[in-house]
């Protein structure tokens, strides 16, 4: 015979009281575990949603890239026609061509009415020192667009009229030049007709003037060093090769490179799409975090309320048990049992109640948490059943809390006076 046997026999005898106690612990532990399961499920769902959104974004960007590629097959793009002798390394290093070709090439190209090109823009570029300001600039002489197919077509670039100049933003700012002001350039008087906005490239330190004036200033009459062919169209996949072949027949001593066209536009599009996707993703994360915080706050109120309710209930049940077993306490004390043994008897029962309640509550909590859905049409998402750490914590904490809740009734039982009880009986 030992105290545990006494406890278990009494539990079997008074099943209802024990069941009510277990139910109370089950409710407290179950609520806690369900809340944790829901939060874990929320986190898992968030990860799932974010991963899906990321995958979707990636797929959409890939689709966009492909769509853009297909669309731009039929859209115009730009090529730069350079003298054949031009070393491309020098071009990329200096940002302008250092070799020259006759201006007449532009006219020849225009007259050929080559089908793959819509507009051409001959130019003469060179890095020079602006003597009046002692400043290095990029001089760009432009003739304006040569329209190939119809003079009614909208010009892609406005030509600069003789006696006028267009300035890059940085240059105008540094030289304190404004639109309408006159300035000297290589001893000639020019009126500032326009100041471009900041572009963040070499255009910001460029001076655009009429081609003829530029040829005269640079001592290159009738010479240009680049023809920009704009808005080229070609239905084949390898458009550049097609255009090279076509132009090569007309201007054999030239070379053609693709120039800042759809590659840039595609990159820009992709960048913007990416920025938007990232923003949408960040918003989704924010929404999920807010939802989690709301659920956490709800659990932070619900769980303590249920736990306190459960503790009060267990204390009440223990007190009822003490009253019910008053004679038994008196008899056991008369038989020689010590006060602390009586105390252990009641506390042990409370701990056993906590242990069984915690085990059942854990199971019920995981079941309830797992069966909870954020939305009716959601696919089921299950968090792992077995969390050893949480289980151990609960199997230790619940009996201790149940013992704490039963402490006073157990103390009351231990302090019962057996003589009083037996006299009354």
């Amino acid at each position: 015979m030992n105290v545990l046997r006494l406890i278990t026999r009494e539990i079997v005898f008074r099943k209802l009281g024990f069941a009510l106690g277990v139910l109370s612990v089950l409710a407290a532990v179950g609520t806690l575990v369900a809340a944790l399961t829901v939060l874990r499920k929320h986190d898992a769902r968030t990860e799932q949603i974010i991963a899906a959104k990321e995958a979707e974004t990636k797929a959409r960007l890939a689709q966009l890239e492909d769509d853009y590629r297909k669309i731009t097959l039929k859209m115009g793009f730009n090529v730069l026609i350079l003298p054949k002798a031009q070393n491309l390394s020098d071009l990329y290093a200096d940002d302008y061509a250092t070799q020259y070709m006759p201006e007449e090439y532009a006219t020849r190209l225009a007259k050929s009415r080559v089908a793959t090109i819509n507009h051409i823009l001959p130019s003469l570029q060179q890095k020079v020192r602006w003597p009046e300001y002692d400043r290095t600039i990029l001089l760009m002489g432009v003739r304006g667009v040569v329209y190939l197919h119809s003079p009614k077509q909208t010009p892609l670039l406005q030509p600069v009229d003789p006696g006028q100049m267009v300035l890059g933003a940085e240059l105008a700012r540094n030289l304190n030049l404004k639109v309408g002001e006159q300035t000297k350039f290589f001893g000639r008087t020019f009126t500032v007709s326009k100041i471009n906005e900041d572009r963040g490239n070499k255009d910001d330190i460029t001076v655009w003037i009429d081609l003829t004036a530029a040829q005269e200033i640079l001592g290159k009459p009738g010479q240009i060093n680049a023809i920009l062919a704009l808005d080229c169209t070609c239905a084949t996949d390898d458009r550049l090769a097609h255009i090279r072949a076509e132009i090569g027949k007309i201007l054999p001593d030239t070379q053609i490179i693709e120039f800042q066209s759809q590659a840039l536009a595609r990159a820009e599009t992709r960048y913007r799409a990416e920025v938007e996707a990232q923003a949408a993703l960040a918003q989704e994360k924010k929404n999920r975090a807010r939802l989690r915080a709301e659920r956490e706050a709800f659990a932070a109120v619900l769980v303590p309320v249920v736990m306190i309710g459960s503790a009060v209930w267990i204390g009440f049940l223990a007190l009822a048990n003490v009253r019910e077993r008053r004679v038994e306490i008196g008899v056991l004390r008369a038989l020689g049992l010590r006060r602390r043994q009586i105390f252990t008897l009641f506390l042990g029962k409370a701990m056993l109640t906590g242990l069984v309640g915690a085990a059942l509550g854990y199971t019920a909590g995981v079941l309830a948490g797992n069966s909870w859905k954020e939305a009716a049409d959601q696919t089921p998402l299950h968090v792992p059943w077995f969390d050893l750490q949480l289980m151990i914590i609960l199997l230790v904490a619940a009996p201790l809390l149940a013992a704490l809740a039963s402490w006073l009734p157990a103390l009351l039982a231990a302090q019962q006076d057996p003589a009083d009880i037996l006299r009354e009986e």
């Binding site: 015979m1 030992n2 105290v3 046997r5 006494l6 026999r9 009494e10 079997v12 005898f13 008074r14 004679v327 038994e328 008196g330 008899v331 056991l332 004390r333 008369a334 038989l335 020689g336 049992l337 010590r338 006060r339 602390r340 043994q341 057996p418 003589a419 037996l422 006299r423 009986e425």
Partner: protein, 221 residues
């Protein structure tokens, strides 16, 4: 021979809001091994108070109580419980068996107090002696009143106490079962134990070798 129980001028007073009741008033009594003392008297004369005081459960207001040479009321409550466990066996009119324990476990209940590991054979032996072997695994509600009192008697004897305190042990029994219980008590005294029987039944008191009458907390001449 050292007395098993000795009362010297023991008084116990209960104070209510209206009056003071001297339940035991200057009682002296000695029980040696082999003594079977019956205390008779009307209800409320102080019989149960006397019994509880003798059992180390109710501290007297005056006088001394000695159990097996030791005054239990000079000990702390835990040590006093130990004295009860070792020296005293209780038998009650209501039996007071623990309802959820079977017969064997009920008899073994006092072993919780002494932590004696091998009480089972002794319990089985006692139950066999009282003719209860066929009822070992029955709970009290499945027993007759006579059987319940025999189980209670076996429980009281588990640790071979020197003193049995019996409070109306035959009060709820028919005459046949009453006789059986009283014969067991007599047998206990023949084996060197002492019995203090509290009863208002003259037939039960007749089994004692000394009979005393209590009235208003005092021995009646």
């Amino acid at each position: 021979m050292t007395p098993i129980l000795e009362f010297q001028n023991v008084c116990k007073v209960f104070t209510t809001t209206k009056r003071e009741v001297r339940a035991v008033d200057g009682i002296s009594l000695t029980l040696a091994p082999g003594d079977f003392v019956a205390v008779q008297g009307p209800s409320g004369c102080g019989k149960t108070t006397l019994l509880l005081t003798a059992g180390g459960l109710l501290q007297p207001d005056a006088g001394t109580v000695t159990i097996a040479g030791e005054n239990p009321y000079r000990l702390d409550p835990e040590a006093r419980a130990q004295v009860r466990a070792v020296h005293i066996g209780f038998v009650f009119q209501q039996f007071h068996l623990i309802p959820y324990l079977n017969v064997l476990d009920n008899v073994l209940a006092p072993s919780l107090a002494l932590s004696r590991p091998n009480s089972r054979p002794r319990a089985a032996e006692l139950l066999a002696h009282f003719g209860m072997t066929h009822r070992l695994h029955h709970v009290p509600s499945e027993l007759s009143t006579g059987e319940r009192q025999r189980v209670a008697l076996a429980r009281a004897l588990l640790h071979e106490p020197k003193l049995l305190l019996a409070d109306e042990p035959t009060g709820n029994l028919d005459s046949d079962n009453g006789k059986i219980v009283l014969q067991y008590l007599t047998e206990f005294t023949r084996n060197g134990g002492a019995v203090l029987l509290v009863t208002h039944d003259a037939d039960a008191a007749a089994y004692a070798n000394r009979s005393l009458r209590l009235r208003n907390g005092k021995w009646e001449e």
